[in-house]
Point group: C2
Chain length 146, copies 2
DNA sequence: CTCATTTCAGTGTTACTGACATAC
DNA sequence: CGTATGTCAGTATCACTGAAATGA
């Protein structure tokens, strides 16, 4: 029996199935991140730094969809763990420049592996064709209102 | 631009799309519930009481997939709002029997309407055929490991 | 003056853990 | 005895709000 399966009106509610699937993926991701002494925000921020290079905290927040106040806390944690470096921007003294350290790069690689493994585990029951279907349908939902 | 779209490695990650879709649905649901002075747990518990009749808190927790300690808090709130009645079980004095009140029944109907409306809003971009596809794929995912 | 940036403090929901007393 | 129940207290992530200080 799954989460909420004791409530009949939810068994055929697509939004509920989406939430359950997301919950499972989220739990696996959170566990995987926790095993690597991280959490979701860390992965997002490290990935954004890797792809776009050194950035201000506000830029990071916009790219990752994380609130600026939450970026502060996450960068605090990662700076304390030497995964990123925070230094004032000389050209705009309101800003900090956040840079990925070498340890941060290594950490991101580990987290990428974690995410890849979970991706496979979650999609395991679907054929390649079904995965593409799912991808297409979800993209439609997300593009519409997400 | 959507949540996390600034991070390229996530754009084609199905688990991420699932999470984004779920996030949207969850936000809409939370807003709808809040507008009715409720929250997700209340809906689940009321629906379980409606479908299965008076139950102990532990039963409710198992049916809804809610932890016992969280059931306590939710029932406290709903009992204070006269949506449910809590009385000791005469046959097993460890238990409480939770009963849906008439006001609780009315409240559940309102919440059912809220959920139905959101269901439609989320699935709007999909044809009937696509909705069935999505339902099938999600069910496969959830049945597998959820 | 207006706006952007960083930071701090706090809220709310969901999810979970540990402990305790009580009763089966 | 072990197990189930209800309760309380606390933690964690994510998401968000409001306000303050600083600087462009």
């Amino acid at each position: 029996m799954h989460r909420g399966d004791g409530v009949a009106r939810l068994r055929n509610a697509p939004t509920w199935l989406i939430k359950m699937a997301a919950e499972r993926a989220g739990r696996l991701l959170a566990d995987g991140f926790a095993a690597a002494d991280s959490r979701g925000y860390h992965y997002l921020l490290l990935a954004a730094l890797d792809e776009h290079g050194p950035s201000s905290q506000a830029e990071l927040g916009r790219r990752c969809g994380i609130d600026r106040s939450d970026v502060v806390a996450a960068i605090n944690e990662m700076a304390a763990a030497n995964l990123v470096e925070r230094r004032p921007d000389e050209n705009d003294r309101r800003r900090n420049v956040i840079t990925l350290t070498r340890a941060g790069s290594r950490h991101l690689k580990r987290l990428d592996d974690v995410v890849g493994g979970i991706q496979d585990a979650v999609l395991e029951p679907l054929s390649d064709r079904e995965r593409q279907q799912l991808l297409r349908l979800l993209a439609k939902l997300v593009d519409h209102g997400g």
